[in-house]
Amino acid sequence: MRSGASVRTTKKLWDTMLQYKYFYLMVLPVIVWYALFAYAPMYGVTLAFKTFDYNGGILGSPWIGLEHFQKIWTDADFHTAFKNTIVISLMKLLINFPMPIFLAILLNEFSRNTAKRFFQTVLTFPHFISWVVLAGIITDMLSRDGVVNQFIMALGFESISPLTDKESFRPLLYITHMWREVGWDSIIYLAALAGINPELYEAAEIDGANRFKRLLHIAWPGIKSTVAILLILHVGQLLSQGASFEQIFNLYSSPVYSVADVVDTYIYRTSFQIGGDFGYMTAAGLIKSVISLVLLVLANTIVKRMGEEGLY
């Protein structure tokens, strides 16, 4: 039997929902979309504990418990891919997370709007070129006949081939990622900077604060909470977007598999080239997702402890 307090709470909630019915109606399509396309397909995760049967499909395949996870434990290729995922993601976070903040602050310092817009447009543009096209351009530029090597050789140095060199492939990933995304990622910080009351800058200027002091005491506190939220989001997506499948898949080749094969590319290659069990591959993907979730919770907790508002 439900207590009187519980009934009252439900009634109160219902009354509130009725009162804001139009808002709820507006959010309904989003909820339906998430339910249909984000949550309903999650039943596919069960495949991690099954061996795939073509006749039974995902639901009808037989359960095999933790067999796939036990196999993964001894799979040297998965270990390499997992290690690469962590290294590449963390390095991208370290290198590429602060860059858009610096860029936004730098652009914000432009007193002339035309120059600001020009640089912003130029730097944002690469984001709209797909990795497939970019990989073609990069490969072309770095080939022996490409502009980079022609320039290097004209200076009397040996030609380079970072696309097939284990030592330079990862730096190439970081640099090309930064080149493509730094402009786009800085937009949100620019918006946050634009939201700061200009009177604060004026007052600080009158009080004798130089550019650096204004940046430190006005601009940075103004965007700190945005930085915190974006950091949590980045950490949550670290293992998937950090080790971007599209970027690596389109740029790598077998000589650099040992330093570049991340979990997503490993799953793809094993599924479609070697023909591994779909269940095994789902288990590999699930491990990655669970670790992403743990990282997200950790990042959120740390940010909250630092006094900022978390994601939840």
């Binding site: 073509y54 080939s143 022996r144 006949d145 081939s161 097939t164 077998s254 000589p255 080239q273 023909g275």
Partner: protein, 544 residues
């Protein structure tokens, strides 16, 4: 009077209509009876009811099939053949980049088309398709005599699972001798001569000297590189020929061949003779005789490089057919309008290796295969098999290769003389598709009267080349049954030797060390266990 006039018009109109209808129906009947007769003749059921009277639509997944099917409307030969079997084709497109993924996804979601093309023999997923009924077994082939004959070749017959065939391999050659055509090296003989080379290379040493001379002399001033390749997958087909020819594979990862070494069967890739072959390749790379960008190559890039004089030699699949189609017809005239390709470019004859023998690559006699959905209606399967049987029949082959007798060619004695001067593929744009859907039959194109290689100079050279191969090279011994053998570890074991070759080539470590790391990697994936299983099973089956 007015009424009479109207009546007259109506009567004339009716008479015209009747004439027109009867003319139409007369044509239709004739065609229909022709078709019935042909179909009846083909099916061997003369005098019985036309077995193809009900129209049938079949869905076909084949590379770029949408574009190929669109060409049928301009191809009277293919139209007639399809009419004969009362078939219309519903294209389900795949491309060279996505066919593997698409077909595996369709198989997983139960959406496979009636017939589809893929190279899956020996892979884990193909075994599952057979075990779980994803693909249909072929029925008794008595009614399809040409198809039945097709399955007599040992490496095709050996594909049966529990006595049943599940696939129709797309045959290329009548025997593995012809595999020599599937990994050939084209080289610039004109540039070699300009660089001071007077003799065509016969040994690996001479080949390397020739490449070195061209790269160093760079006669056209284009900063020419050494050997390039149309795909990384091709690498094993050349470099293993230095003393380890049985290791050559088609790149699928599942077709590795076995040899007996120290009293035990082992995959040829892991033979003692692998190291000298790898060392030879590494030396070539280190001495700039191999394109430094070879790891990132693709067919289009390689053809462009070779045809524009930026590469001294090119490793390619498809032999003279690709030399004709992708270099001669598409590119050569732009770069060298004044040079005859057949006099400028030569195809490297298999080189004499360290053992004093001339070896060429050895693959299966087919590449890729047709499967039929496990859900296919037996009547539909019967109709498709009848079509396949016709394409493989002497009549079908002749029609799809030479066109129509009296129109496109005439017969003089035992020879066919082409009457049509333009390429048949232009006149009948879908004949290649229909032929390739069933079997490539590449060997047929190495005949002087066959117009598939359009450049007559190249055609003559091609015919001479294969004759030379058949007379001067020998295929080393190996037992294909071991390649097809199924054991628990072997079923999930792949050997991408081209990746391994590339890794050794680009490694900064000494060859021996780099190779040992690769072998250790395979050992961690169960190499020793697989060898043990295969040897035990071979003993049980009496394979020595």
């Amino acid at each position: 009077m007015k009424g009479f006039k109207r009546f007259g018009f109506i009567m004339v109109g009716l008479a015209l209509m009747t004439g027109l209808l009867s003319a139409c129906s007369g044509n239709g009947n004739e065609k229909s009876s022709e078709s019935e007769n042909a179909a009846a003749t083909n099916s061997g059921t003369g005098g019985e009811e036309n077995p193809y009277k009900d129209p049938m639509q079949i869905s076909v997944a084949f590379w770029d099939v949408e574009a190929e099917v669109a060409k049928i409307e301009n191809d009277p030969i293919v139209q007639d053949i399809l009419k004969k079997f009362n078939i219309t084709i519903k294209p389900v497109n795949t491309t060279w980049d996505d066919y593997g993924q698409k077909i595996q996804m369709w198989a997983a979601s139960g959406q496979l088309p009636d017939v589809f093309a893929i190279d899956a023999i020996g892979t884990q997923y193909q075994r599952k398709w057979v075990d779980q009924g994803v693909v249909a077994p072929l029925p008794d082939l008595t009614n399809y005599p040409n198809l039945a004959k097709y399955f007599e070749a040992p490496d095709i017959a050996g594909l049966a699972v529990d006595g049943k065939q599940y696939t129709i391999p797309r045959r290329m050659f009548p025997s593995t001798d012809w595999s020599a055509l599937d990994r050939v090296v084209y080289y610039r003989w004109d540039l070699a001569q300009e660089a001071g080379i007077t003799k065509e290379p016969e040994t690996w040493e001479e080949f390397k000297v020739m490449l070195d001379a061209i790269v160093k002399a760079d006669p056209e001033g284009k900063r020419i590189t050494g050997l390039t390749s149309s795909q990384v997958k091709m690498l094993g087909g050349l470099f293993w020929l230095y003393g380890n020819p049985v290791a050559t594979s088609d790149g699928s990862g599942a077709d590795f061949k076995w040899i007996k070494e120290d009293g035990k069967f082992i995959p040829a890739v892991f033979s003692k003779t692998a190291l000298p072959a790898l060392q030879n390749m590494k030396d070539m790379y280190d001495k700039n005789l191999i394109d430094p960008d070879i790891a990132l190559t693709s067919p289009e890039i390689a053809y462009d490089k070779f045809a524009s004089g930026k590469s001294a030699a090119m490793l390619s699949g498809g032999g003279f057919i690709n030399l004709d189609a992708n270099i001669q017809r598409k590119r050569w005239a732009n770069s060298y309008p004044d040079k005859e390709i057949s006099e400028t470019v030569k195809v490297l004859k298999p080189l004499i290796g360290p053992d004093g023998e001339r070896h060429h690559a050895i693959f299966k006699t087919y590449w890729s295969e047709s499967y039929f959905s496990g859900k296919i209606d037996p009547k539909k399967l019967d109709r498709i098999l009848a079509l396949f049987d016709y394409v493989l029949s002497p009549e079908g082959k002749t029609l799809l290769t030479y066109g129509i007798e009296g129109v496109d060619y005439k017969v003089e004695g035992d020879k066919k003389i082409m009457l049509e001067t333009k390429a048949l593929n232009e006149k009948y744009p879908a004949i290649s598709f229909l032929r390739d859907l069933v079997a490539y039959e590449t060997a047929d194109r190495y005949d002087l009267s066959n117009p598939s290689i359009s450049d007559v100079g190249l055609r003559e050279e091609a015919v001479e080349y294969i004759d030379w191969i058949l007379n001067n090279t020998k295929v080393p011994e190996y037992d294909i049954r071991l390649t097809y053998m199924s054991t628990p570890t072997k079923d999930s074991f792949t050997v991408f030797d081209h990746d391994d070759l590339l890794n050794v080539m680009l490694s900064k470590e000494p060859v021996e060390q780099a190779w040992q790391k690769i072998v250790d990697g395979y050992k961690s994936k169960g190499l020793d266990k697989m060898i043990e299983e295969v040897n035990t099973k071979a003993k049980e089956q009496g394979i020595e």
